[in-house]
Symmetry: C2
Subunit: 260 residues, 2 copies
């Protein structure tokens, strides 16, 4: 889950889409790769009480499962701490520095069907590690003008990683977040994105087969409230727009990836 | 203007507060220190047509004024390009790498009364350069739970820079952005922040005399629309909530800094 534009709904989507997929019976692991550790906070995990976190997984190195925390049935979180901010500098000189996470994920058979990685708002080494370790990229996008600006450089980075490091990498989909669909701006930006993606069809780009999900996540204050209770929208507001939207997105996502 | 949390209104505040201060007769320079170059885009500056940008100012080195673009009377922007992303790696080994921007600003008498620097959503080298070069820090904050989480590490970073590199550095103020003041969440978070800042009074911290501005910037779609017209809210929607809020913030800001 990546987009270098800040505050577009990356963490909120990893947490709530992850919970909705887990609720549908998939065994899901959420990886917090952001030193801000917002995903870790979202599930009420106290960073100070952790013996292991993503920093140890990347640098010690420790197996991913040794840092994993089960938060709900079928749903596990691998937490982050602020130490992760140092990882970028510490890994900068390593051989194949973009592939450290990939190595970790390959070391052992992970007991999860799905792994969702929450990235920081940058295209730095942590995000490159995520892009090198996975096969599908999800792009959360707030339908605002400034958020649209960065899409080009994000796609270029995906293409570079696919060409040089991780050939199977492709953009699985784009999901609109924090939508105020009554506004002209949102409709214009969404139309722009849909058109851009339609024109890329069949042209052999890593995003040529990307799905622009029909489900748009509406702006809904309960989605911003639930992290303060350390839980997801499915528990905090099961009948809210937020829950309906993420359940509907989970169905579309599972179909797009051919799950079950 | 800094906050490592993404999407909290940093760029929007630099652009519109800057314009409101310029409108009030102050000579203002806005510096884009984010490789996403959203501030540059906000003023309709085409990054591809630039001879010089902040990358050159930091690395060539070139004087700040050689890259400056006048966008309105009293208002100048020093643009960024994506190249700035490379500056972090290129400067990483330099002696006193946090003080490159400070050196540039000291080289010549700048013809501006005020300089506002827009930072990327991180506490990396570009943000450290901004914190080392200025005397006051403004913290834009969306009154959401996740946005509150990062305030601690941001203040710690300010304290470290003040202790080791830039002793006069202090937090001038906190401004609430994208406020939905009818929500319980916003009121709770704002009360938390006001209390935290009140308790720090007189304790000799760089934020002990910080003002939590009375003016809260309300969520207003026109603020998200104006960048697509390459202008600020003062031109695009002069009678909107967005314009009123930023004009009122400019008055409070000028008073807090003792301008005029
Ligand atoms: N659909 C929504 N409706 C209302 N608020 C939302 C919604 N989605 C996210 N939020 C809130 O908006 C803010 C930004 O979302 P979030 O933190 O998930 O974005 P992000 O892309 O992960 O940010 P960062 O770039 O800092 O990692 C958070 O405070 C979150 O609680
Ligand atoms: N008061 C507001 N009302 C409505 N939309 C706003 C408001 N302030 C900012 N926005 C919009 O919200 C988004 C985030 O704001 P902005 O880009 O200024 O934040 P930022 O902190 O600079 O983000 P980044 O961390 O990516 O640099 C933008 O699309 C902007 O147009
Ligand atoms: Mg996040
Ligand atoms: Mg910005």
């Amino acid at each position: 889950m990546t987009n270098q534009k800040g505050g577009v709904g990356k963490t909120t989507t990893v947490a709530n889409l992850g919970a909705a997929l887990a609720g549908a019976g998939h065994s899901v692991c959420l990886v917090d790769l952001d030193p801000q550790a917002n995903l870790t906070t979202h599930f009420g995990i106290n960073a100070r009480s952790l013996k292991r976190s993503m920093y140890d997984v990347l640098l010690e190195p420790a197996a991913l499962t040794t840092a994993a925390v089960m938060v709900e049935p079928n749903l596990t979180v691998v937490p982050a701490t602020i130490d992760l901010a140092a990882a970028e500098a510490e890994l900068a000189g390593a051989v194949g520095r973009e592939q450290i996470l990939r190595d970790r994920l390959r070391e052992a058979d992970l007991p999860y069907e799905l792994l969702l990685v929450d990235c920081p708002p940058s295209l730095g080494l942590l995000t490159l590690n995520a892009l090198s370790a996975v096969e599908e990229v999800l792009i959360p996008l707030q339908p605002h003008f400034l958020a649209l600006q960065g899409l080009g450089s994000l796609l270029e980075t995906v293409e570079l990683v696919a060409r040089r490091i991780n050939p199977p990498l492709r953009v699985a989909g784009v999901v609109f977040c924090m939508c105020e669909s009554a506004t002209k701006l949102a409709n214009e930006v969404m139309a722009d994105v849909r058109q851009f993606m339609a024109e890329a069809r069949g042209r052999g780009k890593p995003w040529s087969e990307a799905v622009v999900f029909e489900t748009a996540i509406r702006r809904n204050i309960k989605l911003a409230e639930c992290p303060s209770y350390g839980t997801t929208i499915l528990h905090y507001g099961p009948h809210s727009n937020g829950a309906m939207d993420y359940i509907s997105l989970a169905k579309e996502f599972a179909a797009a990836l051919g799950l079950k």
